[in-house]
Symmetry: C2
Subunit: 370 residues, 2 copies
Amino acid sequence: MTKDIKVAIIGVGGVGKAFISQLANFIDRNRSSASVSVVYISRSSAALISKNYQPLSLTAFVPEQLDAAGAPPLSVPDLIQFLKGSGGEAILIDNTSSIDLANQYPDFLNAGIHIATPNKKGFSSEKKLWDDIFAAAGNNGGTGGYVFHEASVGAGLPVISTVKDLVDTGDEITKVEGVFSGTMSFLFNEFAPVGSSDPPRAFSEVVKVAKDAGYTEPDPRDDLNGLDVARKLTILARLSGLDIASPTSFPVQSLIPKPLESASSSQEFMDGLPNFDGDIGKLADDAKREGKVVRFVGSIDVPSKAVKVGLEKFDVSHPIAGLKGSDNIIAFYTKRYGDRALIVQGAGAGAEVTAMGVLSDVIKIIARIK
Amino acid sequence: MTKDIKVAIIGVGGVGKAFISQLANFIDRNRSSASVSVVYISRSSAALISKNYQPLSLTAFVPEQLDAAGAPPLSVPDLIQFLKGSGGEAILIDNTSSIDLANQYPDFLNAGIHIATPNKKGFSSEKKLWDDIFAAAGNNGGTGGYVFHEASVGAGLPVISTVKDLVDTGDEITKVEGVFSGTMSFLFNEFAPVGSSDPPRAFSEVVKVAKDAGYTEPDPRDDLNGLDVARKLTILARLSGLDIASPTSFPVQSLIPKPLESASSSQEFMDGLPNFDGDIGKLADDAKREGKVVRFVGSIDVPSKAVKVGLEKFDVSHPIAGLKGSDNIIAFYTKRYGDRALIVQGAGAGAEVTAMGVLSDVIKIIARIK
């Protein structure tokens, strides 16, 4: 017998909208075998709240409906009470990147509410939050809700699930290495392409093109500071068994030139960036003379507990050098796989593939509670 | 509360032994949260059968214990009755490649017994068996046992689970392409390596080296006939939504020269193979002149329902051309991922990684029934 499952969704940006559309389609396709309904959708300013737990209509949902509805979002304690009041199972979908919400995951889990989220903050911030989340969660046999976060690394790519399968079956991960940021991938695949005979482009010019095309955060410094990659490495290192205090507890190379760290605006930063093209251009030239290219990568060496994020040179025949577009590549070296890595590669960013990662987590939760 | 889970293991060859060792380790590590015990281990000639469902000792298990125990294996009906008699949940591990056992999966599933297996036969033979298995299984909301077969394609690589995640979340797979046989991968990576200036080697010589090193089946024709790859393609095509009648219902190129099909022994085949080195050598030379290499691949084009297995030429810069060792590579093209494939790559054969795929299925079953 299938239990009733109520879903609350917080965040209706790009990923949130794509998720709602995919979930609506999933519910349509699975009417017979599952009883899943959405009873709460919110963003920071407003919420749609179901009356008597009647399913909210997801067809042709647009975020503007939230403002039209006019209700303020529930506080976390009120949301927990609302979801528990249905008497059945409930899943929180956190499609935000809010640390405030992530800080309250243990409360949801302790109340038996499951969580699926692409939000990296809960798993890559202070170690205490990670410990609190997994102490509360039911994933390892406890009584709390299940928490899944596949899309926190590599979007819909099977990255987190692969690490878990390796570790859970008793393999030992020795090294993880790869390109973990779609933006960084695009920047360096354009800036230092393999086998190109074109004259080299200025790094600042590539950043400008990427910014104008929407491939970077609104302020490109949020990509170039390396913190996004550091957060993903923190998650994978913790899953691999390392005790990582925070995403700033290991060396992270920022591509923001020191003098521009204090730029007062994104525009001032972009205007100043060409002054530093010589430095990174020289790195690329040096690499080229060795038959290599520079790439922005992260790596975890488990035996030496060394995690680092930054620029490295790769031989042009290396899989990391040959990436295209904004693809991610993640190579797992383990005891069982030996010298040849298990590799996962593909688009690691984008609303649709991120939403897919969240929905596959929801499907895993449903399989465990039905 | 964790239910008691009884495990029956059939098959104690390379994969079976590795699985027993990994399972013993898993049980040791998870004493607190799971109550998993092995109550039956058999091979075709003999079985170890628990008395009163007491756990069989897995420490330092060697297959010779089965012969020493002297009991004949139970028939399938008797095994089902034995497992159901425990009153708890039960999992059948089929580490054989037997079609006879696969034919009886529906009986196990209908009895509520779960199945985890690397055996391709149940999922790649006549379509009726596939239909019967999934009609009986509980995977899609039914009352039968769960059936998982991750290791039937790519061993421990996340291949089946990735296809399922794509399909279950509503993505549309348009094309699957790759190298699906570790043996074929090794043969062609050696025979036609990228960027080698060495004089080309005879194909028959490469086959002989591979056979002597244990990289092929005892009779290399069992690899060279392409059927192993055809079975894997059948499974992935069915999961992608195509109605494939059998692994011989689409074009499969055999690398066994016609006149050698009737060779009466493996030795006679190997002795005759050098006479045909010219044909495949010419293919490789032609490819080389175009800047390409030949590889033995499988592909599924979903819109045109075209499945095929055989030799194809790839540009030296193509990821399929750049494979090393006996690695598999599987590229999924989907509506959401667009032009850039989701790629999974790594060792797709070997006892340890195959056993890992089976154990990860067991862990998924435990998560669903606890």
